[in-house]
């Protein structure tokens, strides 16, 4: 059973546009919702993360929107740039001693110049 479902699988956006990637989860015990960015040949790097006590978090051009009742969260990239072209992964985690991230299947974002 897939614990976190990510969509779309791929996304093409024009420079300056808004990129939106969505994730849905099942387990209400999850309390940490990060987004990771991965460039070819590199490891995933934390981009931005949110906890369920807030509905939105913004860092520069990147915003996470979180809907606890719908068990969904999304990444918005404003003013998308060609340098943003990468694979984006949402993930979920719960606190306590269960130290693991469960990842979505990833979204390949291409930003055309």
């Amino acid at each position: 059973q897939q614990q976190v479902k990510q969509s779309p699988q791929s996304l093409i956006v024009q420079k300056g546009g808004i990129s939106i990637i969505n994730c849905a989860y099942e387990n209400t015990a999850f309390d940490y919702f990060p987004w990771y960015q991965q460039f070819p040949g590199k490891g995933p790097a934390l981009l931005i993360a949110i906890r369920p006590d807030v509905s939105e978090k913004k860092e520069g051009r990147f915003t996470i929107s979180f809907n606890k009742s719908a068990k969904q969260f999304s990444l918005h990239i404003m003013d998308s740039q060609p340098g943003d072209s990468a694979t984006y992964f949402c993930a979920v985690s719960s606190g306590g001693s269960n130290y693991k991230l469960t990842f979505g299947k990833g979204t390949l974002l291409t930003v055309n110049p």
Partner: protein
Amino acid sequence: DTAVSQTPKYLVTQMGNDKSIKCEQNLGHDTMYWYKQDSKKFLKIMFSYNNKELIINETVPNRFSPKSPDKAHLNLHINSLELGDSAVYFCASSGRGGNEAFFGQGTRLTVV
């Protein structure tokens, strides 16, 4: 100064061989992980160690054996390599509280 470093970056080997991947972190973190990324880029946890103790083993075949000699190191030894083991293996670490994980650059393992 690399935070999480893995060696080697590339590993090509024949079926049936035994190989090891090494990982070191200089972040002072208590928890280290091995993740596997398959050809479709799906990332899945394999193992997690906290203070040198195994706390997560995600039904990985016994051919895979992690070893943590100290908090800063987590190595992965793979016996009797199979074609299906071909993937990118990532080491990661996280601090107290566990959530934010820092990943290494990955080791691309190709079994021929």
